[in-house]
């Protein structure tokens, strides 16, 4: 087996038992790694009782899985997964950094966490020396202190334990902030500063397992590849294409805070009441003034699209974060009515520090602000906060309350959709119409009303990862940037930014072959392999539970906000029409192998050897009256 070590580490947090788990070449060949392998492991272990598994209970499984291309394709990434406390399905949430490189160099393709620790713990991996350690001293600490403490303690420990090697580099760390510890469903698994596996809410899963961090140092090489010369050749080809992406390299996604609003009119503004703005104060030229590092990247990346922003004076002094990237510019900026870079950098830093996903928590903050605007939530309800659009300080206070689960923060910590259900009940008004989410997941900052951005009608309603803008359903289905293609990126694992240029798609297949030795043709991927993974994810999403279950007839839909017309800008008046969306959803179901109710068909599942999934889907088909 090439490109893999063939071993996963399995850690039972309840007993403290740690063992190695071998994965056969056949399983890797079918599911590749990352998101694909996560679907396989979760279904095998939890599928039978999926509806009963509490995502925040000890029965849930937390996965951190690399892929064969991790370390070989520019930009190291790892996929975090498990049963999602947001969608109750499974989300494959990838995060960049050197963590997956260190893990592979330590001899493991991934980690499976089961059970839950009794007291705050972290896992320390140094090659095959592995220890579950006490994390009481960093429990409750924010990002900065957690990272710096673990780096310095671990280096000291290595220097004492492995004498005579010289200076130790820092280990790599995945960790959670206070929000994850408090089981906020909007919490991310994070790395460095501002690196987050946000979608899915796996920060809360780590918190529920009392797992503060995973720290790893691997001193070996990356696994052997099938053809080293070709691996280098195709990796270099990918690098060359990336190096020619001048504008993206220069500004990263940080140029979009202005342009997506002004040009495409698909940027959330004040909880998506609008999707257009022309605020020049929010231009990349203004953000750039705060960048102290204009190219910042992770292992092997040729784009280095991150930009390190620091605020050195004024009310927000001390904020250090990336860029902020477009999603955070939108969700912790325009969507809160904020149009100045300093406020946005500050709120992004605060979200990092507390361990939140900027999209999920930003969506919940805006939702609360709209309820305040409409008089549904009062200042009293908000613990005295005057939550006006554009007031960064007020939003910061509310974010802190969410992280502490204090007052209204306890409700919003459940994420926008669950908070909407609760508030509707308490207030006796249906506020779910203001929740811009799909299947419990806040949608990414790319609207579809103007018709100018990349997502389209089926993108969010049919995604097996709900509102995840990085994993959108797409027609034609065999498009590399559609969900079946993205499953390859999330399984192999490749950064989708390396693949924006279609010139790199061919190189991706070739690199996969060079590393693994497997000749996987697009046809096999789109018709067999990716479908298997997609259907398993779809099955888990539809089974849902225990607190919420999605009915495709109702929940395979866009947020109801998008049926309201845009109010401003060149696409003013544009709104979505439900019948058109339903038509396209039907077409997507047909193409992808789902029946008229959106359930994977028996024929399709049997064709792919997923008889056990078919058995579970039979129950759903009966419930929903599938033909």
């Amino acid at each position: 087996m090439r490109g893999y070590s063939g071993k996963l580490l399995e850690v039972d947090l309840t007993t403290g038992n740690i063992k190695e788990n071998r994965i056969s070449e056949g399983v890797f060949r079918q599911y590749i790694g990352g998101r694909g392998l996560a679907a396989k492991i979760l279904w095998d272990r939890l599928g039978e009782r999926w509806e009963e598994i509490d995502p925040l209970g000890p029965e849930n499984i937390l996965l951190m899985l690399t892929g064969p291309l991790t370390g070989f394709i520019p930009g190291g990434r790892i996929c975090i997964s498990g049963k999602s406390p947001q969608s109750n399905g499974m989300v494959g949430s990838t995060i960049a950094g050197e963590f997956p490189i260190e893990l592979k160099c330590a001899g493991y393709d991934g980690i499976i966490f089961t059970g839950a620790a009794e007291k705050p713990s972290y896992l320390l991996i140094k090659d095959s020396d592995i220890e579950l350690k006490d994390a009481s001293h960093i429990w409750g600490k924010g990002a900065k202190e957690t990272v710096l403490t673990l780096v310095s303690e671990t280096r000291k420990e290595f220097e004492n334990k492995y004498r005579g090697f010289g200076l130790w580099k820092e280990p790599s760390i995945l960790y959670i902030g206070p929000s994850g510890e408090k089981l906020c469903r909007t919490a991310a698994v994070t790395a460095k500063w501002s690196h987050a596996a946000g979608y899915g809410g796996y920060g809360a899963v780590m918190g529920s397992k009392k797992l503060k961090a995973v720290v790893v140092k691997g001193t070996g090489p990356l696994p052997e590849v099938y053809d080293l010369e070709k691996t280098i050749e195709y990796a270099n080809k990918i690098v060359q294409v990336m190096l020619n992406s001048d504008s993206f390299r220069r500004w990263g996604t940080g140029a979009a805070g202005y342009t997506i609003g002004a040009e495409l009119s698909s940027e959330p503004v004040m909880n998506w009441q609008e999707e257009w703005h022309d605020e020049r104060s929010y231009g990349v030229d203004k953000f750039e003034l705060f960048w102290v590092k204009k190219f910042w990247g992770d292992f092997g990346c040729a784009l280095t699209c991150l930009k390190l922003a620091v605020i050195k004076s004024g009310a927000f002094k001390g904020a250090i974060t990336d860029n902020p990237d477009y999603e955070n510019q939108a969700y912790l900026g325009t969507n809160l009515g904020i149009f100045d870079p300093q406020s946005n950098i500050y709120l992004t830093w605060l979200a990092d520090e507390l361990g939140f996903c900027g999209i999920q928590v930003g969506n919940a903050l805006a939702f609360a602000a709209e309820l305040y605007q409409r008089g549904i939530l009062t200042r009293d309800d908000l613990g005295g906060i005057d939550l006006r659009w554009g007031d960064a300080k007020a939003f910061a206070d509310l974010m802190q309350m969410i992280a502490r689960r204090e007052g209204i923060g306890d409700v919003l910590a459940e994420g926008t959709y669950r908070a909407a259900l609760k508030i509707s009940k308490v207030k006796g008004i249906d506020v779910t119409r203001y929740a811009v989410t799909v299947k419990g997941i806040a949608v990414g900052a790319h609207g579809i009303r103007s018709g100018k951005d990349y997502p389209h009608y089926v993108s969010y309603p049919c995604s097996v990862q709900g509102g995840d803008h990085t994993s959108v359903a797409y027609i034609p289905i065999d498009h590399l940037m559609g969900e079946l293609g993205i499953i390859l990126c999330d399984s192999a694992i490749a950064c989708m930014f390396a693949l924006f240029n279609p010139a790199n798609w061919e190189n991706l297949w070739a690199l996969l072959e060079a590393v693994t030795g497997w000749k996987i043709m697009p046809d096999e991927w789109f018709n067999v392999m990716a479908r298997r993974i997609l259907h398993i994810q779809r099955a888990m999403l539809l089974l849902g539970g225990p607190d919420l279950k999605w009915n495709p007839k109702i929940h395979d839909s866009v947020p109801s906000r998008w049926y309201e017309p845009l109010l401003k800008g060149p696409y003013s008046g544009k709104a979505l029409e439900e019948h058109k969306i339903r038509e396209e959803i039907k077409e997507y179901y047909r193409l992808i192998g789902w029946d008229e109710n959106g359930i994977p068909t028996s024929e399709e599942l049997k064709r792919l050897g997923l008889e056990d999934v078919d058995r579970k889907m039979k129950i759903l088909r009966e419930q929903y009256g599938s033909g």
Binding site: G71, C105, T219, G220, L222, F295, G297, L308
Partner: protein, 175 residues
């Protein structure tokens, strides 16, 4: 293709993107594998955002060569690089102790001191760094004399200095 005459790798820490492409090409070239922990240039990231390329500076007085008691270290007349004789090296760590920047380290499996050999005059790390336009590592031809040793500092020392510049003194102190 090797250059004749001494060369030096200039490092501009403020420019380092942390992409670690230098570690990739270095370990591929010297070890035939991607192997960050056996790379002659190592990127230290003691504080995220402050990435420090750490590699031999070729001090004019070569304290590491002086300190080696088994004669495993010598200098290249061509490039000025410190050359390690893997057979003679006993991984005692005296060169590390003698280095003002604690730059050498012991190879993780083969137990000899790892020191940059300047790729025989054609350093691969510089190539990828220039190719990407980062220019954290740049090639300087000719002897740089006493200045080179100024760069022989520990990652901790360099991190503190760079952090003050990038974050500002007050914020750096908080970290």
């Amino acid at each position: 293709m090797s250059q004749s005459g001494p060369i030096w790798i200039y490092r501009n820490y403020l420019n380092c993107s942390g992409c670690r492409r230098c570690e990739i090409v270095c370990s591929l070239s010297h070890e035939g594998r991607i192997w960050p922990e056996a790379s002659r240039v190592r990127i230290f990231m003691l504080v995220p955002g402050i990435e420090i390329p750490h590699l031999c500076v070729q001090c004019h007085d070569y304290p590491c060569v002086e300190a080696c008691s088994v004669g495993a270290l010598s200098t290249s007349k061509e490039t000025g690089a410190v050359l390690v004789d893997k057979e003679k090296c006993i991984a005692c760590g005296q060169c590390i102790e003698a280095c003002p920047g604690k730059i050498p380290y012991i190879h993780p499996t083969d137990k000899y001191a790892v020191i940059c050999d300047l790729c025989n005059g054609d350093p691969k790390c510089v190539k990828v760094c220039s190719e990407g336009g980062w220019n954290a590592l740049q090639l300087i031809r000719g002897r740089v004399g006493y200045n080179s040793k100024l760069y022989a500092k520990t990652p901790e020392m360099i991190t503190t200095e760079v952090m003050k510049v990038l974050f500002g003194e007050e914020i750096a102190e908080l970290i």
